[in-house]
Symmetry: C2
Subunit: 248 residues, 2 copies
Amino acid sequence: MFTHNIKAVLCDIGGVLYVGDTPIEGAIDAIKRIKERYPIRFLTNTTQKTGVEVVKKLQELGFEIQQEEVITALDMTKMFLENQKSTAEFLLTDNAVMFFESLKKYPKNYVVVGDAQHNFSYENLNQAFRTLLKGAKLIAVANNRYFQDHDNELSMDAGCFVSALEYASGQRAEVLGKPSKEFYELACQSLGLSSNECVMIGDDIEGDVHGAQKAGLQAVLVKTGKFNEADLQKGIIPDQVLESIAKL
Amino acid sequence: MFTHNIKAVLCDIGGVLYVGDTPIEGAIDAIKRIKERYPIRFLTNTTQKTGVEVVKKLQELGFEIQQEEVITALDMTKMFLENQKSTAEFLLTDNAVMFFESLKKYPKNYVVVGDAQHNFSYENLNQAFRTLLKGAKLIAVANNRYFQDHDNELSMDAGCFVSALEYASGQRAEVLGKPSKEFYELACQSLGLSSNECVMIGDDIEGDVHGAQKAGLQAVLVKTGKFNEADLQKGIIPDQVLESIAKL
């Protein structure tokens, strides 16, 4: 089904492999079959869960997935900063901040905003603002407005604080998660391949399909998860549309 | 110099009465003369200083000013909420929040954001966000990007957190300080007069002159404080332009 030059598969996680706590029918087998022919990377925008937690959930659901096959937005950010030989002022959870410890030797050329929740204090935000004033660039790893909190009510998410820092600094944040070009390019780079040698599979016609295509990948849309028939009227033409990943 | 129906004077403070810690030449006498003929109100957008502190500074500089003649953005907000028979979730300094104690009996129909500094915690912001989700309306008493902090560096100001709450809630804040129409209408109302019976004097062609004119007041621009000759090219025609308040 792929054109002849496809050498690897990138795959979204939620909505493609499972919905809630239930695997998509046939998805476990599909992943097994894909892995017999291609290297694969699973991509997720989360900055709260570490790769270890993401893998744990997938393995518990029955997927044969290895740690090195999962790339989270945090991995992506680390690769990006490593490429730039830079570190950042991080507005993230404490665990996530620790994940960037190895970059400490580099200059603080960026401010990175992800899910920080209670770390979004005035002191931390103001510290980030002052780093921006000194010339650092603003990166949004996550850009959501709100999320469903433990008490089942909505709570403010990273995008709100990205907006506060944009207003303060007059800078527009670069979004580093999907659907950014950088996200896809770094994923391909981690496989030692160029964009046109990879195919992306996802349920989000904008974040997954359009984002991947703009980065030069081929893209397959699956009709599971957040897919909605109206998505096909948005002027984005997936290279292939499938009922689910099981049909691959 | 005013048209016949002027019954009261509204006056900006910084840049009209003094610059830094020095009174504008002739301003002290001018205020004395105005007060012999008209009731006067001094208007300021500050939400950090209480009216008491504002009056103290003016008196120390030599102005004959009474407490009831100064209207700060906090007074303005209180009048607005009292008119609406509402209270608010307040993002302000502790002192400023206490100022609204008497409104406790009313329903929380608003979220009011001013200078809150360290009270801009995740918890407080999220509480405000949830109040907005329940249908409250967002009011920005201050909307600045940053201010010069005690350590002489810039720090994030109220506008940043207004922006965060706008992004979170999808709501646009109503700005209640100058140059809003409400600000001027409430000031006139506090004198028992209608807008066309009052004249506003200020050094800010947008906040003072244009704002007041849009609310139906006449407006005098003084060429002191933040006045810049280019201001006269902005398409806003003051009812009168004076070298300073001393020429009134």
